[in-house]
Every structure is written in structure tokens, then in C-alpha cells.
């Protein structure tokens, strides 16, 4: 027998539908508001900008200034070492923290809360903000950049490390405990062998990110290739900017290729 009325969806389904509908309306309202708020440039301004600035820019970019190469190489080399030290600093400090923040080792989630909160707190600060603070504190130069990258990497790596730890197979830990192993032996023989390859892989990944970040940190005076780049951008020396950019791109691409190849073999 066919029911006389189509059954209405249950209450929780209707609530969900209502919620999704409200979200869609809110998104449209936000979009319209954003369009109204922005100061759109006049067409004349765009035209003059294109002829006065963009044309010489493109002209310079396709003619990299070879005399700038030694400076570009030296700065990029410094940037590379900043990234190495920043990543190392972050990894070394993230290692112990991640175990404190993992909910499956220290006797339950509540014990991991302080560690997790600390890591979230560290991650909240954008790198560039940290760099500005460290430049103010320690003066301009690579040290500020390294500290900023290191601190930010702690938050990033600590979070990923503790996720990896929470994902391990609990079987081996039980086996070591059953064999009479204490906490340190469980850690060394059941936990570390399971997490180490993924730790290493993520440290390399963070290094790739840090190398790109280090190229920008110089903009706030935290060392590396960012400062010479900023100066030449301000003086509109597009040919020299071009050289610097080429070196950055070549370096970053090469490092990414090598690093991702190593990572594939690790995991």
C-alpha cells in the first residue's frame, strides 16, 4: 500500500539541511560585502601602471644581470644554511615535545593536553611575525631568521611528530611490556623504530618549506637573500631582481627534487 503522504525526513536531517542552507546564504552575503568594500582601481590607473611599470619589469626580467650572480649565489648560500640550522633547531626541540603531546604514551589524553596546547600556541605565530620580533630583540641578521624558523618549526614538527606517534601499532609496545621491558625500553624498541623514518621524512619536508620561507624572511631584515632582493625591488633594478629570482628558483627546485627523492626512500 502506498502511504498517503511522503514521510518527512527526521528532525536531525532537517536541522542539517537548515544549517547548510544558512551557511550558503552567509557565504553569498560575505562575497557581496567584500565586493562592495574593496576600492577598485580606475581603468586609467591600470593602464598607466601597465605601461609605466610592468613593461620595464618584464623587459628587465627577461634580461638577468650576470654581474649580480656572485652576490645572488652568496646570499642564497647563506639562506640555505639558515634553513638548515632553523630546521635542526626545530626538529631537536620538537622531538621531546612531541612525545609529551602524544595521547597514547603518557597514560592518556588528559596528560597530553599541556603539550598539545604549547604546540598550538607556538604554531599560532606566523613566521614573519616571529622574525620581526627576533630582529627587534637580537638585531638584524641571520640569527633572527634562524630563531624564527626554528620556533615555528617546533610547532609544525611537534604536531606532525605527535600525530605519527599516535598512529603507531600498539602491538609491539604490549609485546615489550610483556617481556618485562620498562618505559624506556618500550620507547626505544617499540616506539622509536616505528616513528623514526616518518620523523626524518617530515624534517626534510619542513626543510623544503623553511628554505622557501628563509628567502622571504630577509624582507624584514632577518638575513638571507630577501634583503638584497628587497633593495633591488625598491630601486626597480629589474634585471638584478631577475638574477636573484633565478638563483632562488634554481636552488629551491634542486633542493626539492633531491629531498623528495630521499623522502620516498625513507618511508
Amino acid at each position: 500500500m502506498i502511504p498517503s503522504t511522503v514521510p518527512r525526513p527526521p528532525a536531525h536531517v532537517r536541522r542539517t539541511q537548515l544549517f547548510v542552507g544558512a551557511l550558503a546564504v552567509a557565504a553569498v552575503v560575505l562575497f557581496v560585502l567584500a565586493l562592495l568594500t574593496i576600492n577598485w582601481p580606475t581603468w586609467a590607473r591600470v593602464q598607466s601602471g601597465l605601461t609605466r611599470n610592468v613593461a620595464p619589469l618584464l623587459n628587465g626580467l627577461v634580461r638577468p644581470d650576470l654581474k649580480t650572480f656572485p652576490l645572488a649565489w652568496r646570499s642564497m648560500w647563506e639562506t640555505f644554511h639558515m634553513a638548515v640550522l632553523g630546521t635542526l633547531l626545530g626538529a631537536v626541540l620538537a622531538f621531546p615535545l612531541s612525545f609529551l603531546a602524544a595521547g597514547n604514551l603518557l597514560g592518556g589524553r588528559p596528560f597530553a593536553m599541556p603539550g598539545k596546547a604549547l604546540l598550538v600556541g607556538v604554531r599560532t605565530f606566523p613566521e614573519i611575525l616571529l622574525a620581526i620580533i627576533f630582529v627587534a630583540a637580537a638585531g638584524p641578521g641571520p640569527t633572527a631568521g634562524i630563531m624564527a624558523m626554528g620556533l615555528h618549526s617546533i610547532g609544525f614538527l611537534g604536531k606532525i611528530f605527535s600525530d605519527v606517534i599516535e598512529g603507531i601499532d600498539a602491538g609491539p609496545t604490549e609485546a615489550i611490556r610483556a617481556a618485562g621491558g620498562g618505559p624506556i625500553q618500550v620507547f626505544l624498541y617499540a616506539v622509536v623504530p616505528q616513528v623514526l623514518p616518518e620523523f626524518a621524512s617530515n624534517v626534510l619536508y619542513r626543510f623544503e618549506i623553511n628554505l622557501r620561507a628563509a628567502a622571504v624572511l630577509g624582507l624584514v631584515g632577518a638575513g638571507g637573500i630577501g634583503l638584497p632582493l628587497l633593495q633591488r625591488l625598491q630601486f626597480r633594478r629589474w634585471d638584478e631582481v631577475s638574477m636573484l629570482l633565478l638563483v632562488i628558483i634554481a636552488f629551491v627546485v634542486t633542493v626539492d627534487l633531491i629531498s623528495s627523492r630521499i623522502r620516498r626512500r625513507l618511508v
Binding site: A179, G180, Q185
Partner: protein
């Protein structure tokens, strides 16, 4: 005196589930005991009270008269190092070499700093190799554990337990993840080694015919209680029907291959 003594053991898990409702058993030294029963009957819980991976909420488990249940810290770890355990899912560190997995069995007996540095005394290394030879895979020492077949991985599990030089061996469904011929091979290895070394062994098993073939004594469990305790000869089909709480057909798959 009995080697392992369960005295009125009860286990209530957080959440209220009563897994054991008062189990009393005496197991003499060197006996090969097979525990049978449906999933959820309390077999795994019972076996884990012997090394205190599960702590009884009432009652006591003692080995050679010394209570495991009340032992804590270093004393408990010392008792555990005398109890080998093998698991249904093997519980090997899959990325580590077979030898390193076996050496984990020596951890209870070497100084802590040796375990930290991973420098085991030559005698322990030799013994680990010997344990692998006893389970028939001496050539696999330097292979990664996850490169082995299931049967071979369980042999590594047995070798790791043997490396403890245990007087008690616990086996929680050791062959449930293996095919029938491999199961028989692993069970006969286990039985042979237990005989040779006089190790008191408790094994949880699903298969009736395997229980009859390998056990000195069969203990049947249902719903957290011991409902059968006797020799394989006494464990008739009628007795098993009682343990499983339903009739067993001649061609039913409860029998292994």
C-alpha cells in the same frame, strides 16, 4: 606445588564488562594447557592476568607462590621477563630486523644502558641466533620483519619469547591468523620446545581438533567461567557442545584442517 595458581580471579573492565567471574585453576610445572571457548568467553583476559597486562579486580594470580597481581614496578618487570608471550597478530616491529625483534626478548635481562645503546653482549647475540635456529629460520636474522610470511613472523614471535629463557609461555590465539597447515607447523614447534625446555604453557585456541592433538589438558571457558577442565580424552564432542553452548556438526569448520 603448582607452578601457576589462579585464585578466584575476577576481572571487571572499566565500563562494567565482567570478563572473568571467579576463575580458580592450578597448573603444574611443565604442563601444556589449551584454553578453548567462544570469542568473548574471557580466554585472552585470563591469559593476560598471568603477566599482569590485565590486573584482576579481585582474586590473585601467583607463579611459584609469588603473587604477580600485587607486584609493581621493577619487581613486576622481573617476573614478566620470566614469562614469554606470543600474540595472534605477532606484535613485531615490522620495520626492524628479525634479529632486533628477537633481541627485544633479552631486554629484561641486560642492563638498561645496553638496551639504550643497542650493544648486546656477544652471548646474548649468539643466544638470539640460537633461538631463531630452534624455530627453523636461522637464515632470516637480518631480514626486515615485514618481509616474512605470517608463519615465519609467528616463529619470530616464538623466538622472541624464547630469548627471555622463560619458565612460563603464554600464547594468545597464536595461529588464528595463519592457514591450517602453517598453524599445525607452528603449534608442533611450540609443543616441541615447551617439552624440551619444560616450559609451562597456556595457549588460547579456536580449533577443537588442534586442542585435542596438542594439549596435555583442556580448559573450557564460557561467559567468564571455567566450564570444563580435563584431559583431551575426556574432551568429547558432547563436552565441546557444552563449552560452545550449541551442537557441533561433524563437518563444521570449528575443526582446523
Amino acid at each position: 606445588m603448582s607452578h601457576i595458581a589462579f585464585q578466584d580471579v575476577e576481572v571487571t573492565y572499566p565500563g562494567g564488562l565482567k570478563a572473568l567471574k571467579g576463575v580458580t585453576l592450578e597448573i603444574p610445572r611443565g604442563q601444556f594447557v589449551v584454553i578453548v571457548g567462544l570469542s568473548g568467553a574471557g580466554k585472552s583476559t585470563l591469559i593476560r592476568t598471568v603477566n599482569s597486562l590485565v590486573v584482576p579486580s579481585k582474586g590473585d594470580v601467583a607463579i611459584d607462590g609469588a603473587s604477580v597481581t600485587t607486584a609493581r614496578g621493577a619487581a613486576l618487570r622481573r617476573m614478566r621477563s620470566d614469562i614469554g608471550m606470543i600474540f595472534q597478530t605477532f606484535n613485531l616491529v615490522k620495520r626492524s630486523s628479525v634479529l632486533r625483534n628477537v633481541l627485544a626478548g633479552r631486554l629484561g635481562d641486560v642492563p638498561a644502558w645496553r638496551g639504550v645503546l643497542g650493544t648486546f653482549p656477544a652471548a646474548d647475540l649468539a643466544f638470539a641466533h640460537e633461538c631463531l635456529a630452534r624455530v627453523g629460520i636461522p637464515e632470516k636474522a637480518f631480514v626486515r620483519a615485514d618481509a616474512l610470511s605470517g608463519g615465519q613472523q609467528q616463529r619470530v614471535g616464538i623466538a622472541r619469547a624464547l630469548a627471555q629463557k622463560p619458565s612460563v609461555m603464554l600464547a594468545d590465539e597464536p595461529v588464528a591468523s595463519l592457514d591450517p597447515p602453517t598453524s599445525h607447523a607452528v603449534m608442533s614447534d611450540l609443543k616441541r620446545i615447551a617439552r624440551e625446555d619444560g616450559i609451562t604453557t597456556i595457549v588460547n585456541l579456536h580449533f577443537i581438533d588442534m586442542a585435542r592433538e596438542y594439549a596435555d589438558r583442556i580448559v573450557g571457558m564460557r561467559d567468564g567461567l571455567v566450564v570444563f577442565d580435563g584431559t583431551p580424552a575426556e574432551a568429547t564432542d558432547r563436552a565441546f557442545e557444552d563449552i560452545y553452548g550449541r551442537p557441533i556438526d561433524e563437518d563444521e569448520d570449528l575443526r582446523g584442517a
